[in-house]
Structure formats: structure tokens, C-alpha cells
Symmetry: C2
């Protein structure tokens, strides 16, 4: 595994200092965390954990995008989580992980060996409180996604995914523009796995949305959404 261990780095200038699991920690608690943390980088396409692996560390995503997937014995794959910067990877108090974790883009992790992290979780309420918040948010997101998987049409699924990504990117430049441009961090296959569709259906629906002017793209990664509200209307969730 050609993963790279980077040089040490300070929490003070960490880009996810205020959103990650450590965001409620006091300065003295950060000092403790600094002592057990280390960085790792994974190239796009590399696997971080295989399902069933023993869970040696937990981590915050510093940069990049990772996916969680589950695979059936006959090869069917369903993505069950998409981890963005600030998100937490791994399970305290669990020996193994039951998903494959993959780097969709180059990913930089801030890792903590699991045992010391669990000990700190017991001793440092701020850490556990933040992790609880984050886990509850993820649970809400997972439930939202169950609606998409269980009840939406292919077209609505695509619109939902694009809308979600557009809004997340939008939140970075917060002037409420009606328009959005972004680079899809994932392939058609990854989209299909996320949405419970085949890549052919993804491709067809992307073409259909383009034909109708709801989205635009030249190379197949850089997407323009001329009218976010119009796209939202296609998600099936508008009133």
C-alpha cells in the first residue's frame, strides 16, 4: 500500500479545526489529541479499509472525498456513505468495520489509534459530545437517503444527488446565487452505486437533464446548474 505518512502538522492551522470531531475541544484537550494523532494520505482509488478489517485507527478527513460501500456476495454494490472534509471515519468501541472505505479523490486523514482515542473519549466529554452531534447528523442524512433509494425515480435520484452536491459547494461561497458550478468528485459508476442505479441509467438521465437545460456540461465532470430552484423541482421534494 503506497500510502504516505506526512510530516507533523499543527492543529492551530488545520482547515477542519472548527468542523471536525475536535471542534469543541479546549486548548489543553487539543494538546492531548496532538500527541496521539498522525497524518496519512491515500491516492484516488485506494482502499482505506476493507470490510471486516480490524479497526486500528479512527480518523478525521482533512481533505478529499471518501466513500463507504457495502458489497453483496454476487458483486452488487451500494454506497452507504460519502465522507467529506471534517467528517469522521471509524467506530469507537468496535473491533472491525463492516464497509469498504475508499478514497474517491486523494484523501488526507488525521488519524488516531483507536484505543487511545477511546480512552480520551471516556475522559473528555467535549470529544464525545461533538461525535454524538456528528453521528446524529449522519443518521439524519442516511435516513434522507433511504427516501431517495426507496421511493424516487431515476430522474429524481440524479436531480437529488446533483442538487445536494451543488448546495454543499454553494455553502462555500455564501452569496445566495441562483446558479452553481462545481466539479463532480465522483465517476458515473460511483453515482450509480450511490443511487442504486446502473451507470447506463445514470448516463441517460444526465443526458436528459442536459437536453432540457437543467444542467450543462462539456467534459463530463464540470457541471453547471443555471437555476438551482429548477433543479430542486426535479428532486420530487419541492412543495
Amino acid at each position: 500500500m503506497n500510502m504516505v505518512v506526512s510530516q507533523p502538522n499543527s492543529c492551530a492551522d488545520c482547515p477542519i479545526r472548527h468542523s471536525a470531531v475536535c471542534s469543541k475541544c479546549e486548548p489543553d484537550e487539543l494538546v492531548q489529541l496532538e500527541q496521539i494523532k498522525y497524518y496519512r494520505t491515500y491516492a484516488a482509488g485506494q482502499t482505506v479499509f476493507f470490510s471486516g478489517d480490524s479497526l486500528e485507527f479512527v480518523a478525521s478527513i482533512v481533505s478529499g472525498v471518501s466513500s463507504l460501500t457495502r458489497t453483496m456476495p454476487d458483486g452488487r454494490v451500494q454506497m452507504v456513505g460519502l465522507l467529506l472534509p471534517g467528517d469522521f471515519m471509524g467506530r469507537p468501541n468496535r473491533e472491525t468495520i463492516e464497509c469498504d472505505v475508499m478514497a474517491e479523490t486523494e484523501v488526507k486523514l488525521c488519524c488516531f489509534r483507536r484505543k487511545p482515542f477511546e480512552a480520551m473519549l471516556e475522559a473528555t466529554p467535549h470529544l464525545g459530545q461533538r461525535l454524538l452531534q456528528m453521528t446524529l447528523d449522519e443518521l439524519d442524512a442516511a435516513r434522507e437517503w433511504m427516501l431517495v433509494l426507496g421511493r424516487k425515480t431515476a430522474r429524481e435520484k440524479i436531480a437529488s444527488l446533483l442538487y445536494m452536491i451543488a448546495v454543499r459547494m454553494q455553502s462555500l461561497n455564501p452569496n445566495g446565487a441562483a446558479k452553481a458550478e462545481f466539479t463532480l468528485p465522483i465517476t458515473r459508476e460511483t453515482m450509480a452505486n450511490y443511487l442504486g442505479l446502473t451507470i447506463e441509467t445514470v448516463s441517460r438521465q444526465m443526458s436528459a437533464l442536459r437536453k432540457e437545460g437543467l444542467i450543462a456540461f462539456q467534459d463530463r465532470r464540470d457541471i453547471t446548474v443555471p437555476d438551482l430552484e429548477a433543479l430542486k423541482a426535479e428532486t420530487g421534494e419541492d412543495a
Copy 2:
């Protein structure tokens, strides 16, 4: 709302004392909890919370089964959670709830007003630690379910649901019998909403599984599974 407030009850002889959010609490912490708790009972079919309601209390399920559902503007419904005795209902640090919560059977809740509960969560690490564990477990279950919704056939979905319920019931009488009998706590419509299917498809697949001898039933609630392993083989997850 004809909900009933029951007479006070002691934690000491509570049936979910060792599985609920309070299960790690020390005696003195239980005393605190006793001061802010109260019981409510809902009849089958009653709504506990409507989506968007302000969240006045959180609760443990003492007995019965509740469902969490999300509804689209055009009426499509997806169940996103099934709460059994011991499970926790509600979100600390959130003003409103974004699901409908319904009593599928008669349900007895042990309620805590949200604000005092949040205060205790800050002050009592045992409470937060247990809630974190439970939330992580629910997240895993939600992800498992995303695989069912996204990638399984109707037949596999039905088999998965029946197998899950059979195993949960089985865990109550722990001699590893190959056979299982149980009463479905939910209607065909609820099954359909859980599985992302129509009730007609649920009905057809139930009939098909019965024709093949994988399950048996006379009245449509009391199910017999003569061979749990055979049923498991139909879930698509066997190796």
C-alpha cells in the same frame, strides 16, 4: 389526542433498564433521571410526532413498536426507522423533528423533557456515552438498510425483512432453533413502506415464499419460518 399519562413507575423494575439510554447510569444518576421522567402511552396507529413538530421531549420506548417515516409532497412514503423496546426517540440539540413518528402497536414511552435532558447529557457522561453507542448502532442499521433499498430485488427485500424480524424474536428464546414463529408487528402497507415496494408486490412475494414452503401462515400476521437458514439464503447476503 387520547394519550394516557400513566402512574409513576420505578426504574428498578423497568424492562428496558439494561438496554436503554439509561443503562450505563449509576444509581445516583438514575435518581436524577427519575425526577424528569414521565410515562405516556399511545394506541396503535396514533402519531407521536408530526414532521416539523417542535420537539418537546425525547423518550425511550418501554414497550411496543414505533416507526419513523418520511413523506414526499405527492404522498409517496418511505419508512426510515423502526423503533423497538429500548430504542431512543428524538434528537438532543434539535428544535424540530423531520420525520413522522407513529405507534405501530400500542406503545409505552418513558419521556424526558428535552431541555432538562440536554442539561443532563452535558453533566452526565454515562448518558452521552450510551446514546453515542446507540446512535452508532442505528447508523449501522440504516446503512445496512440502504443496501436493501438500493440493490435488492423484491423477493430479497421481503426475505431480508422476515429474516431480520425472525432473528430478533429468536434472540429472546436463545436455544438456537432452526425454526421460528412470530407475529408480524406490522401491516402489509407498513412492510411496503419499509421496503420501498407497493403492497401488491409485498403480497405477491409473500404468496410466492409461502408457495415454496419458505414461510407458512394462516391468518396473515402469524408467520412460521420452518428453516431460518433457507430463508437467509433468499436474502441475497448468504455466501
